[in-house]
Amino acid sequence: MQTFDTTTTTLPTLRRGSQLYETERRLNAVLNNASVAIFLMDDRQHCVYMNRAAELLTGFSLTEVLTRDCPLHDIVHHTYPDGRPFPLAECAIDRAFPENNQERGEEVFVHKDGHFYPVGFTASPIRDDEARIIGTIIEVRDITEEKAAAERQRLLTNELNHRVKNTLATVQSIAAQTFKGKTDGVARQTFDARMVALSNTHNVLTAENWESASLRSVVEGAVAPHALAEVDTARFDLVGPDTRLHPKVAVTLAMALHELMTNAAKYGALSVPEGRVGVSWTLEPEGSGERLDLVWTETGGPPVAPPTRRGFGSRLIERQLPLEFDGGADLTFAPTGVICRLRIPLTALGWHGQERVTGRVAR
């Protein structure tokens, strides 16, 4: 079995100026100036070469590592962060003695001074002339900063979720205190229900780290307004494919559906036991993206008369929603039941238009 010559750091037999000598010098310059740690392993997982960055990373010099004459694992990876010994047999890097180029992973190494540090590694096999694997080259990066940044991000997201919830609750409390005895209970109930609708949408967004929301979750949340309630299948038909919604689309759509729900419960299909609501939607191609076509249909309710006055719900659905998303909305008070058709373009950001104007995309 071929092993690496451990004396390759100096090649005394090479003549200065020879091609091999120059190649060696260039390679050393590359390796020792690289900011990523590079380890060359033989087939026993002994380290036979490490560059300067690897010495800085581990705290060990190449000479120390060579002198120990043991698998590199036992030098830099011998203990789990919880203090248990970490035998070589359990080592992912060792087990993944790579058959393929550039196998990647993350591990936690132990520094010479005893502290733990997270690393990302990339391992690739080295083959001999017969393509047999005779060793491994491992690149290792210290990912302490990345880990810390991800942790800060997680804490900030948690804080954001917490603050948003608290702010909504605070607004609700201020409203309750301010209007106590000054408005009728109906207005207060309407207000509270709208706050809950908004809060429910934020729950969906929170679960998804505020990146996007599932369309189906938004629809289900709107028609089953109590957090733990199941959708009442005797009264609701929800038919359509799931997709991802931009947070802005999720919030406005949820508020629009909440207004339709409230109206249905007060005057429409949900005001009588036999009434039903169908919510069906399709995704149609539009430009480079898709468009959500959603139809809310009430049946089995009392005869509908068009409202004498257009309130918050109508204004939100018929005017704001199309303005916000460059979409469309038709709210029809048909005698057989309310029908509401919404058309919302779903672009990558849920909010196209800015690219055309500025070429400057989001911050």
């Binding site: 704001q320 303005l323 916000e324 950001l349 909010w351 238009g353 400057r360 995309v361 989001a362």
Partner: protein, 149 residues
Amino acid sequence: MSGLQGRRVLLVEDESLVAMLGEDMLLDLGCEVEVAMRLDKAVALARGADLDMAILDVNLGDTCSYPVADALFERGIPFIFATGYGLSGIEPAYNAIPVMQKPYQVAQMERLLRHLLTCKTPPKGNMPSLPCGCSFWAKIVGPHQIRAD
């Protein structure tokens, strides 16, 4: 009379519910309101609509309203920014523009809009007087120098 009666105001605000509130406040002040919730529409209105002044929400979802500001500068239409982030939320190039803090308050809105109507900068040299020192300053510098990017 608020002095704002019949003034045509462009309101740029990307959140449906917040836009409703802002529009209602402007209507209560006697203004005529053009609402834009998307950047492309807002820029089109800023370039072409018959306007006396404007209120621009700085952050429009995934973008900012600076292109609208630039279009208003070019026409000498005075405007204010609205933001929940305080002054630090605005690019330094636009720091002469009055800022209305969110959440919207009708008294603050009225005061700042009146300021836009009444603030006169004395003419310097052969520069014409413009309704507000803020947009006067911008006119001298020109819209292309003030874009921070």
